[in-house]
């Protein structure tokens, strides 16, 4: 019983860290424990949380995905710019005023999701068939998409005024932000997939020992490509939530998100070497870092200082994690 509790504590220590941060926040700032701030906090977790969840799938098969940052905004940009393009050709009224658009929210959502799946597929194919290291393949993808983002928008922002679209980023259901709900639901589904379906089994086997998996007749190529597609899918959902919240699509948005996502996942305990980690771990990393960011804003620390602290935290967490591994499993 005693050991069980110790195990529970060790495995969920980040949960306690999260509560600790919340307590510190409440004690040091009168605004921390207010509905608005808590709503903001959890809403801000949704986008990096989804990205962290996505890259965890790729980490679990011992690979890396750097393209998710650029991809986040690429889906909406592709959708909106093609709406504008075809709107001019076929003369349907998408243009409301200046460069503000109001039309089919469903179109943007669908195009973004499909784009994500295609990009993930390309990443996976490049890595498995092209034999390109995932770091290089997804770095190239990140750069290419980044460039495409500017080409498609001509460097100008599109302001979205589609009520059905923008409410996704701003609406609260039972006081819980819609984006957070989407994030939670996807995390739950992912956790379930990883634990109870063949997809999870395969991904963990491959991350555990790719050679053994291959010799056991597992189609490594297929499952790795799928992991990349799952990652990109999450990035696309994040992109929809992100652009609907900002009511804008613009090329410079979401730059560097991939590294934040990786940091969140790593802090949660998802191993870069594969096989270790879970959607739950990515979730833990997200709530801890999300709470910390919120605390920093309360304290008035700006992004610059925040980045320094994040760097230090990542080093500490990974160091502690290594210690824990070396001490053996409990």
């Amino acid at each position: 019983m005693n050991l069980d509790f110790k195990n529970f504590f060790l495995n969920n220590s980040l949960l306690f860290v999260f509560f600790f941060i919340c307590i510190v926040g409440t004690l040091t700032s009168e605004y921390f424990f207010t509905l608005t701030n808590l709503q903001n906090m959890v809403r801000n977790m949704a986008v990096p949380g989804l990205l962290a969840l996505g890259v965890s799938f790729v980490f679990l098969v011992s690979r890396i995905d750097l393209s998710v940052g650029s991809l986040t905004i690429f889906g909406p940009i592709l959708a909106v710019s093609s709406l504008a393009f075809f709107g001019e050709i076929f003369d349907f009224k998408v243009l409301v005023r200046g460069n503000q658009y109001a039309n089919s929210a469903a179109f943007i959502v669908i195009v973004s999701l499909i784009t994500g799946l295609v990009v993930g597929f390309l990443n996976g194919v490049g890595v498995m068939y092209g034999k390109i290291t995932s770091f290089i393949m997804t770095l190239a993808m990140m750069k290419a998409l980044w460039g495409l983002n500017y080409v498609l928008t001509h460097g100008h922002a599109y302001y979205l005024q589609i009520p059905t679209y923008t409410w996704m980023g701003t609406l609260n259901l039972f006081n819980i932000p819609f984006s957070t709900l989407v994030y939670l639901i996807i995390t739950l589904i992912a956790a379930w997939i990883m634990k109870f379906t063949i997809i999870g089994r395969r991904i963990y086997s491959i991350g555990g020992d790719e050679k053994t998996a291959r010799l056991a007749g597992i189609n490594v190529t297929f499952w790795v490509i799928l992991a990349f597609m799952m990652s990109s899918f999450c990035a696309s959902v994040a992109g929809i939530l992100f652009s609907s919240r900002l009511q804008t699509v613009d090329a410079p948005l979401a730059v560097g998100f991939e590294l934040t996502a990786i940091a969140f996942a790593v802090v949660g305990g998802v191993s870069l070497t594969g096989g270790k980690g879970s959607p739950y771990r990515a979730f833990l990393g997200t709530i801890v870092m999300g709470a910390l960011f919120s605390l920093f804003s309360m304290w008035g620390l700006n992004t610059w200082h925040r980045n320094i602290v994040v760097g230090i935290i990542i080093i500490l967490v990974v160091m502690l994690d290594q210690r824990k591994n070396n001490l053996g499993r409990l």
């Binding site: 379906t197 063949i198 555990g208 050679k211």
Partner: protein, 493 residues
């Protein structure tokens, strides 16, 4: 004249006396060979000489002075170099850079003195009559040239004695002749050589003295004269052992698997044999004979260039392990750690690795059935564990191997390919593995075992195929099993 002597060396490992009062010496300008079967104690003796393990008893002397070798650096300081069986070269560096790796001379500005490295390396290569460009990148060279570079690496430390462990394992005839020329010129330069090999004809050709180790003891030391391969084999092997399967062979008439003219680049050539229902077929050969590669080709791990594989008289295409598995073939690799098991997964996850699909219903994993299946095999194979959710990395070698086997039994394979199935497994577990193999074949399966443990093969196989340099040398049937003949067929042509 210098002497290296090992006097009355003993070494025990838990459960086995690896060396028992062994004395061995080599002097300048001499090649003294050390032979013996697997487990005779050669590697232990060399590990002691290299400072990797410490003897329990006995002493090492150089020129009648007792020396202490506590780690490889001590051996190096005593002018004692070892050329290991495996190559340890940096493929991206040049010949000269490899020879002086970790030992580089510096010029007065603190940079590595490239010129000196190149001229010294050239001198060294010259001294053993080898024509090799010192600027060439090692990755562009062939294995025999790597072997030469390994020797030069040893020479760069200006040794008085060199130990060569299976230096011809990956060389062809011409390259071996070349190597022997080099060994002769080393001898002429006053270097004493301890030569370890399984290849008896080479041993006889190159040695001044030959010492036979058996079960950790010196059996006999032969001089240059009157030594024959037969004599060496007799000394190495001792009395013959019996085969257990003799009656069972009569049932073996239905060929399941027909291998026709299978060839792979340079590992094996035109291999043809049949595997019958109920048969345990042994493949045996020295390193580089191709026995392991043949198994890996049949399983689709490496691609063969020509030839065909027929299953029940139907040609099958095997391009990857999945194809092999679809045809009911399973493979138990020799590298259990990296290829057989996912070390930090549970026993359960490893046992059902091959049958995930069967254990899922519309994509949902049937956890309970997985548990039952695993427990079933744990009981059947007598795997000693406390919980099927334990990590496999904490199991003993024998139990780990059983988990690998469980994986294929669960898949209901008809043919199992075992690559060195008893490597790193204790004696009791070895017997259990073999009885599992026997039971599997009695139930209609067929097994190919690639192994160098000739005694085990003789005790358990119906037929043994010996291989040399990628070609079938001889086929023995169990009524004619004779350890000496089989050993001879493996290690001499």
């Amino acid at each position: 004249m210098d002497f290296l002597r090992m006097n009355n060396i003993s070494k025990a490992f838990p459960g086995v006396k690896a060396l028992d009062d062994v004395s061995f010496e080599v002097k300048s300008s001499e090649v003294h060979s050390l032979i013996g079967q697997n487990g005779a104690g050669k590697s232990t003796l060399m590990a002691i000489l290299n400072g990797i393990t410490k003897q329990d008893d006995g002493e090492i002397l150089i020129n009648d002075k007792i020396v202490k070798i506590d780690d490889p650096k001590d051996a190096f300081n005593l002018n004692l170099s070892i050329v290991h069986q495996e190559f340890a070269l940096c493929n991206n560096l040049s010949v000269a850079e490899n020879i002086f790796l970790g030992n580089e001379p510096f010029n007065k500005y603190g940079y590595i003195d490239k010129e000196k490295i190149n001229t010294d390396a050239a001198k060294m290569l010259n001294s053993i009559n080898v024509d090799l460009n010192t600027d060439e990148i090692v990755g562009n060279l062939n294995t025999s040239q790597w072997q030469i570079i390994e020797i030069c690496k040893a020479l760069s430390k200006k040794p008085k004695f060199i130990v060569m462990d299976e230096p011809t394992a990956s060389l062809d005839e011409n390259q071996i002749d070349n190597l022997f020329e080099i060994i002769k010129s080393l001898k002429n330069n006053g270097i004493g050589i301890i030569y370890i090999s399984h290849k008896l004809n080479e041993i006889i050709k190159i040695s001044d003295r030959i010492t036979v180790l058996k079960d950790g003891k010196i059996k006999k030391t032969f001089g240059k004269e009157n030594v024959t391969e037969k004599l060496l084999i007799e000394t190495m092997v001792g009395e013959n052992i019996k085969n257990k399967n003799s009656n069972h062979l009569n049932d073996i008439i239905y060929p399941i698997l027909k291998i026709n003219d299978l060839s792979h680049l340079n590992s094996f050539n035109k291999i043809t044999f049949n595997l019958h229902k109920g048969e345990v077929l042994g493949l045996s050969g020295l390193l580089g004979s191709g026995s392991n590669e043949i198994l890996r080709s049949i399983f689709g791990v490496i691609e063969f260039q020509s030839g065909e594989i027929n299953l029940l008289d139907k040609k099958i295409n095997i391009n990857n392990p999945r194809d092999a598995i679809k045809n009911g073939i399973g493979y138990i690799p020799s590298d259990r750690k990296n290829e057989g098991l996912i070390q930090d997964n549970s026993i359960k996850d490893n046992s059902i690795l091959t049958i995930f699909k069967k254990l899922t219903n519309l994509g949902f994993f049937k956890a309970n059935e997985a548990k039952v299946t695993t427990q079933n095999y744990v009981d059947k194979l007598n795997i000693k564990i406390s919980n099927i959710n334990d990590f496999v990395m904490n199991l003993s070698g024998g139990n780990q191997q059983k988990v690998v086997i469980a994986k294929w039994l669960a898949k209901e394979c008809r043919i199992l390919l075992f690559d060195e199935p008893t490597r790193g497994i204790d004696v009791a577990a070895k017997a259990q593995i073999w009885s599992l193999i026997s039971e599997f074949t009695k139930n209609g399966g067929a097994v190919i075992v690639a192994s160098n443990e000739i005694k085990e093969l003789i005790g358990n196989c119906h037929r043994i195929i010996t291989l040399q340099r990628g070609k079938i040398n001889q086929v023995f049937e169990n009524k004619n099993f004779n350890e000496q003949e089989i050993s001879l067929s493996i290690s001499s042509n």
